[in-house]
Symmetry: D2
Subunit: 207 residues, 4 copies
Amino acid sequence: MSQIKALFLNASLKNSEEQSNTEALWKEVGEIYDQEGIAHESVRLADYYIPYGIDKDLGDGDEFPQILEKLKGADIVIIGTPVWSGEKSSIATKALERIYGSASETNEKGQSVFYNKVAGAVITGNEDGAKNAAQSILYRMSHMGFVIPPNVDAYWVGEAGPGPSYIEANGIENDFTKSHVEMLAYNTMHLAKIFKEQPIPAVGNTQ
Amino acid sequence: MSQIKALFLNASLKNSEEQSNTEALWKEVGEIYDQEGIAHESVRLADYYIPYGIDKDLGDGDEFPQILEKLKGADIVIIGTPVWSGEKSSIATKALERIYGSASETNEKGQSVFYNKVAGAVITGNEDGAKNAAQSILYRMSHMGFVIPPNVDAYWVGEAGPGPSYIEANGIENDFTKSHVEMLAYNTMHLAKIFKEQPIPAVGNTQ
Amino acid sequence: MSQIKALFLNASLKNSEEQSNTEALWKEVGEIYDQEGIAHESVRLADYYIPYGIDKDLGDGDEFPQILEKLKGADIVIIGTPVWSGEKSSIATKALERIYGSASETNEKGQSVFYNKVAGAVITGNEDGAKNAAQSILYRMSHMGFVIPPNVDAYWVGEAGPGPSYIEANGIENDFTKSHVEMLAYNTMHLAKIFKEQPIPAVGNTQ
Amino acid sequence: MSQIKALFLNASLKNSEEQSNTEALWKEVGEIYDQEGIAHESVRLADYYIPYGIDKDLGDGDEFPQILEKLKGADIVIIGTPVWSGEKSSIATKALERIYGSASETNEKGQSVFYNKVAGAVITGNEDGAKNAAQSILYRMSHMGFVIPPNVDAYWVGEAGPGPSYIEANGIENDFTKSHVEMLAYNTMHLAKIFKEQPIPAVGNTQ
């Protein structure tokens, strides 16, 4: 079996010159992938020029096509987002719009190009909103062709109100977050392997 | 001006024989109402027989009509709910369905019977989901005729994962929660008084 | 391979003495299951006495334990709901609360008892709200251990505002709805078969 | 009384060189404002350089400060958005992030600078998602200091699945949409006038 590849799209509002709490939580997932021989790459979306629109290539220097190629080459796609006002970030929303604009591409069997890939979500915030962000991301990914394994919403948020973020709050010590990091990493890996061996038959689901 | 009356509908899954964290947070609001001379009543929805359906009276012992009378008599309506799986409770959902089934009733000017009343939300949970619950409740109340004052979502939730609830966690000490209790209490009161003096003109909004 | 079994939980607010639009859409799914040799059963939740609470058995005549046995015996679980005020029904919310209260049960390997099962959603409404209902249902099912296959949200809703429901509107003629019925039926079947042959390894996901 | 001013922020993904369905629905609101002597201005957000972040001025050519000045000068703020994948647009999400980053500014009484202003939402899409977009927008606006009048969610969406948009579908003929345009226009106007005469007392709600 060829190596399983995981792609992390970090929808932090900050580019990679600044520290991202969501990246820090993702690194916990990446450590498990390292142990298990899963290749992984993290893309900071704010580093790219990604214009607005519902199309896979909007021209004029649009860098989303590069990201689309990475998506097509990945077996596992994890969307990472901070929580603002109890929701996923605007960059996460834009990424989902651009993926949606690419979902009519098909694989060689006529299914959406995202079939046989699995998706998950990594979320951090000072407070409340992780499940709202997770449900939005995971539903849209499943609607575009990805499989959602069990328990692939790894998140940390603090108590109600302003407060320290994941890194400062030492969220890594939270047992619930730790167990969800583990389930996210292992279940995306398990299912990616299963669909590599046994792809979803192209019956009833071609475009 | 006649006395302002506030009604609290507590959508705890437990009836009043058991302690409700959401009730405990509501009491903080009630204390401010007491200081300000606002009458208030708390209704534990789980104590009533409220069948499912979209009608103001479903017959066969339906006790919602009693609650509808209380709603009509109130100037301020606060929905309280626990958070389960990041959402408002099923009893809160049912209450909104029944209020929706009553929204075609009109006042003497032909507006929805809920015009000139203001709404708010009080929410508690172990963890994540308060804003999701708040947005669902406040939007539906506004869609049925209530005015939503600023900052009327008073909530407490703990850090990600299982953990103590509001009472046990001493959530009352949370400054953010305290400030939102205050804004909820005062802004519902301020706006209820304003609409008592200056009702919304019946132009462009009659049924 | 033993026969695949599908369970449909219909969260209509009406019991089975009344016609359900959601049931009518489900029947389209059932026809495909019949052709493919998938056993299926529909449970009208409003016919059962299901009290409120977060536990698998609340005693006092609670009939949820019967439904839990059906859930454990099924390979595919589809939640069906009408849309009210742009959301899933209160009975759907209650069903998810009760399933959540049962998710700490484990299979013989120590995973949640819902592992290796797949979930989907069938939704009907006069208007707007199907995706909101779908995201809520599918996310919660994945959070409780189910796998979400691609494109398992089959729905019909009409144009904005009051209007005819699925049956009366002849929603069955809607091409989008038809294609999603097909993807729901086939993808739940395909994945249920895959997980029957290749269960998710009990590594990183036991409780 | 000085003239009431309404500001429309159109979060279309397209800039003003292209036709916007959401703008077309907004124009219906604007006609009523014209009749009633309400000044109004429409801002196409995609025409501006608005970087990502949670701050009122991100420097480097950030044009959001211009929009913030317009927000401060308005009595009524309407957010308009298309529906993509059942949600508000990424530009709407970004606008809410930037408004959130400005909500700690205060008026001369110490309340959020958005107090005594009212908000609403105008939404168009091919299909399903308007209420999800409306609840997200209206809740966040209320959480940042705006008052939400009754029935200020004016929207048009078509039947489930791909199909014509508002202009092409002649959504203007939809009675439900028409009545909500009217309620949005009149109720934002009524409440803006009320708060101009009777501002919300600065008791219990200063920062």
